[in-house]
């Protein structure tokens, strides 16, 4: 089964991201707006899953709630024409990311870690230029508090269901 790990920002931020995703992101219906901490990885063994859940509890317990800041719309072009809310790459996020690439976790880092909330992807070239041109002008100033992450698995239709939530400082192993 394919698993992934993500942070959902608070409802207000999800609602704002969805106002763009609804029009510009074909993954709109597959998962709520999120910051990916670990891209999809395969786990087929129940014992291995159990081990990773224990690791994730440890990681959550070592982590204190932290604030994130989003100050601009950015893009992965020319690699892909994905447009995103850029989350300032503070050390708390980077540490979470790195912990999930080491120890018992499969290493599946494909790109450098750029914390972000995708709001548009898989657009045609012309659509991309239009949409990025207009979103780039937006004055974005979001501060949000993060106190948990979620382990999810992917269904056959591509959508994601939450397996477990990990609340910082509240997951006795």
């Amino acid at each position: 089964m394919k698993y992934g790990i993500a942070i959902f920002p608070t409802k207000a931020v999800q609602d704002e991201a969805n106002s763009y995703r609804k029009r510009y992101d074909p993954h709109y219906a597959l998962i709520p707006p999120h910051i990916t901490l670990k891209e999809a990885f395969q786990v087929d063994d129940d014992d291995q899953l159990e081990e990773l859940v224990t690791e994730l509890k440890r990681i959550a317990n070592e982590t204190k709630p932290f604030k994130i800041n989003i100050n601009k719309v950015s893009t992965f072009a020319p690699v892909t024409n994905t447009i995103y809310l850029k989350v300032e790459p503070i050390k708390e996020l980077i540490e979470l990311y790195e912990k999930m690439q080491s120890g018992k976790f499969p290493k599946n880092q494909e790109y450098a870690f750029v914390p972000h909330i995708t709001i548009a992807q898989k657009l045609s070239h012309d659509e991309y230029s239009d949409v990025f041109g207009s979103l780039q002008m937006k004055n974005i100033q979001i501060e949000d508090e993060i106190d948990r992450f979620q382990l999810m698995y992917q269904l056959d239709n591509g959508s994601w269901t939450v397996h477990d939530s990990f609340v910082f400082g509240k997951e006795p192993v």
Copy 2:
């Protein structure tokens, strides 16, 4: 904010339910296939939410993993033309439901509790007759193991994001 409490069955059961929902359920994209334990209720106060989370941990800790059985497709017609996988109403499910209607929880029981996984709803009269006629003939024999429930909140677009997961026997208060 609107919250709700549900059980997600295992992936195989979600995939099967989605094969029907995709065509017949306009809520397909809003939430994975689920058994509703508590319909949407309003919580606007952080302290109240915290209290309910503590209650849900207590309830999860008192509950042992249990098996559910699904042996037929049924309908709420003529009240609504919702079609669902009927989950046998075992005492474990009824107890979870009742605990979430008492004590600190707002009472929001509108109908008798009929545990189910919706696979079709909001169909026209003719569509409903066709779809129920054909689904009713299916030989359904599903057994599934349940070991957790999830507290979710609703976004402005009607979709649901998981706030927290509660694993039976593993949520020290």
